[in-house]
């Protein structure tokens, strides 16, 4: 998570890419740690 102000879209870093995600989309994302990669 790069930026989250508690309202509005957030910015996440996924595999060296900054992605802006709407809050509705964020609530549907499940994050798991996967070995040595940073998923």
């Amino acid at each position: 998570m790069v930026q989250n102000f508690g309202h509005g879209p957030v910015i996440v870093l996924v595999r060296d890419t900054r992605i802006a995600l709407g809050r509705g989309e964020v609530s549907r994302v499940r994050v798991t740690l996967n070995g040595d990669s940073h998923e």
Binding site: I11, R18, A20, G24
Partner: protein
């Protein structure tokens, strides 16, 4: 491995020729005896693909649409001494699964058109993500050359990539490039020709599906063997079936007999998790490549993008920055462009019209009128707005190329969602301040069809330069020193109504569907003047073409209606229509001449001034004396409100029809704006009249 060399030219001298293409050139406009290699340019969005394409093709670019689609298709030719590379720019896609129209277009082109070579442009600063597309491209038959672009941006981020290590690990040509500095282009062209002439040298190391699903893949391959329609590669189809690709699944269901499909379907059902094995296999392959060829920055290192984004994407500071940027754009556009526009209007359009009258002094009056008033003052006046548009598009293009416009979309997303729009909708809507036509066309970047339609429908409510030019001429006549506030008020009114219309259409017409916001924020980088210049050139040419076709035709028609019968506008069909509409005008406090001025604005918004000049027997400056005698401030304000919200010009209506592909939506949009503009204008005048303000 070739190193990038500075200041190279895109037009390269190449030796040799490809005899198999001598008789069947694939490229357009080939010279006699010239051979062609068809090359597809693939890549994810924001990797500098357009810059590479521009460097290679220059002004030979042909811009159109993919057949039957509203997705832009660019092609062009990079010519050498005796060989031409027919380059097709595929839409930017993150993968080749049929999730979006762009992805389907890109993969269909590679499968059906069978390009000789695919050049994949990758962003060296986001190599991990970019290599996923490469993993997909490698499962298709065309040989791939990897253009490793934006090495300078990667360096700024503290990322170091070793292209020769990557090339050895991938088993395909990897060309280091900094396209914005014209570095690596010659090597790229040479690599394309080399791989085309020596296809046996192409031996890529492809990613594999994870071990636990390899047997399943082999099973699917054996079941579909010999049943896959041409030209689809069987291995690729098997992989896509396991990935759950809807289009490929439908295709194979149609091509297999019932029993065969039943067996394939049963395997797919048992292995719904196969997509993880495929994606996992690709990412393991990517990780091996990254470990071998990429040195990542130290943990905790703060990059330029991090520093700028702390402000640019902040909910408050980001919004203030955006307002400042918008103010700067408008300030620059009008401070530089408006005087040039006035100069062109006075000395080119009016001067040209006077010159025509002088030269054709003995000619029939209708011919003089047609040329001087119908052609030059109609379409010519529209062209005087080119300087304003060019400046606006150039500044906007620079901000887009730097990477800032994605942040603007991010900051505006909250507000755009209130009316069912997407953060990305902000970009085309902002373009609308220059001209509504590119705003409508620009809505293509919005992925959701409903949000795209909504963006198109509300675009005409963004006050364009032409509408504001009318306000800029008329407001000072009635409101003196307060004209600036009136102008800002009209802009605010227009945007408020845009928001309300968006909200109502979203909730009650388009079903209130949630619009997902997922958007990449590219790293900031130095803009490329050539790319921006070409983008401005294409937008300008498109505008001039419209002025030379639609606007010219409608200008002439309106001129004919304004002189037939009787030879004067007072006795014309247009005047008759204006008088017919005068009861409606009375509700606004304006007479039939103002209604005629509104009607002629359908050709181009700025025609309002020219028409008023003719009807009141005064030039632009003379209106300052004549108009106050027939209009009160209240009726002038009502008229300006109608003018700002009125139906869009002919060129915009044509663009709406083209982009929606529907006359129903186009006419509904025109009707809505017609009703809305008069409702607001009448409300303003009647409230002012009842309150006794400015009447």
């Amino acid at each position: 491995m070739n190193e990038a060399r500075p200041a190279e030219r895109a037009q390269v001298t190449l030796g040799g020729c490809c005899p198999e293409y001598a008789d069947a050139p694939k490229a357009r406009a080939l010279r006699d005896g010239e051979c062609a290699i068809r090359v597809a340019l693939a890549g994810q969005p924001n990797v500098g693909k357009s810059t590479v394409f521009t460097l290679l093709t220059g002004l030979t670019q042909h811009v159109g649409n993919w057949p039957g689609k509203t997705v832009e298709r660019k092609s062009g030719i990079c010519r050498s001494e005796d060989m031409a590379i027919d380059l097709v720019d595929l839409p930017g896609t993150y993968s080749l699964t049929s999730n979006s129209l762009e992805e389907r277009i890109a993969r269909d082109f590679i499968i059906h058109e069978k390009p000789d070579v695919v050049v994949m442009v990758a962003d060296a600063a986001s190599l991990e993500r970019n290599l996923y597309l490469l993993a997909e491209l490698l499962s298709l038959p065309a040989p791939v050359v990897l253009a490793l672009n934006m090495l300078d941006v990667a360096g700024q981020q503290g990322i170091s990539v070793e292209p020769h290590v990557l090339q050895a690990a991938l088993g395909l040509p990897v060309i280091p490039m900094i396209a914005t500095k014209n570095q690596g282009v010659r090597d790229l062209v040479e690599a394309v020709v080399r791989i085309h002439q020596n296809p046996e040298s192409y031996a890529p190391r492809r990613p594999e599906i994870r071990e636990n699903h390899r047997e399943v893949l082999r099973e699917i391959q054996s079941l579909i063997a010999g049943r896959v329609p041409e030209p689809y590669p069987e291995d690729w189809v098997a992989l896509k079936l396991l990935e759950g690709d809807e289009e490929v699944t439908r295709m194979m269901q149609a091509h297999l007999d019932a029993a065969g499909w039943e067996r394939v379907h049963a395997i797919l059902m048992r292995h719904e998790d196969a997509i993880l094995a495929i994606a996992g296999g690709r990412y393991e392959w990517i990780q091996r490549l990254i470990r071998a060829a990429v040195t990542q920055p130290r943990a905790g290192q703060i990059t330029l993008t991090d520093r700028v984004d702390r402000i640019a994407t902040h909910p408050l500071w980001g919004l203030l920055l955006l307002l400042g940027v918008m103010g700067l754009i408008f300030g620059l556009t009008y401070a530089v462009g408006a005087p040039v526009q006035r100069f062109l209007d006075t000395y080119v359009v009016q001067g040209g019209a006077n010159w025509i009258r002088a030269v054709l002094a003995g000619a029939p009056p209708w011919l003089v009128g047609l040329l001087a008033d119908g052609v030059i003052r109609g379409a010519g006046m529209v062209l005087t707005f080119l300087p304003i548009l060019v400046i606006f598009f150039a500044v906007l293009g620079a901000l887009e190329d730097v990477g800032y416009m994605a942040r603007a979309a991010y900051v505006m997303d909250r507000f755009m969602h209130l009316m069912g729009l997407h953060g990305k909708s902000f970009l085309p809507l902002f373009l609308g301040f220059g001209c509504n036509v590119p705003a409508v066309m620009g809505a293509r970047i919005v992925d959701s069809p409903k949000a795209r339609l909504l963006t198109i429908l509300v675009s005409p409510l963004v006050p364009c330069t032409a509408r504001m030019a009318v306000v800029a001429v008329l407001a000072p006549i009635f409101f003196g020193a307060a004209a600036l506030w009136v102008s800002w008020g009209l802009i605010a009114l227009s945007l408020l109504i845009l928001a309300l219309v968006g909200l109502v259409l979203h909730e009650f017409v388009l079903g209130g569907e949630h619009v997902a916001f997922i958007m990449e924020l590219p790293l900031y980088h130095v803009p490329n003047a050539r790319t921006i210049g070409l983008s401005v050139w294409q937008r300008t040419v498109s505008f001039v073409k419209k002025a030379g076709t639609i606007i010219l035709v409608v200008s002439v028609i309106i001129w004919v209606l304004s002189v037939v019968p009787g030879g004067t506008i007072e006795t014309s069909v247009l005047a008759a229509v204006g008088r017919f509409l005068s009861p409606l005008g009375a509700l606004l406090g304006v007479d039939w001449r103002m209604m005629v001025a509104l009607l002629t604005s359908f050709v181009a918004k700025e025609n309002t001034i020219a028409t008023l000049g003719v009807l009141f027997g005064a030039g632009g400056a003379g209106l300052a004396q004549t108009l106050p005698a027939v209009l009160t401030p209240a009726s002038a304000l009502a008229f300006l409100a109608v003018q700002v919200l009125f139906i869009p010009c002919a060129a915009t209506v044509a663009a709406i029809r083209q982009e929606t592909g529907s006359w129903k939506w186009t006419l509904a949009n025109v009707a809505l704006l017609l009703i809305l503009s008069f409702a607001v204008g009448i409300a303003i005048y009647q409230v002012a009249r009842l309150a006794g303000w400015g009447v």
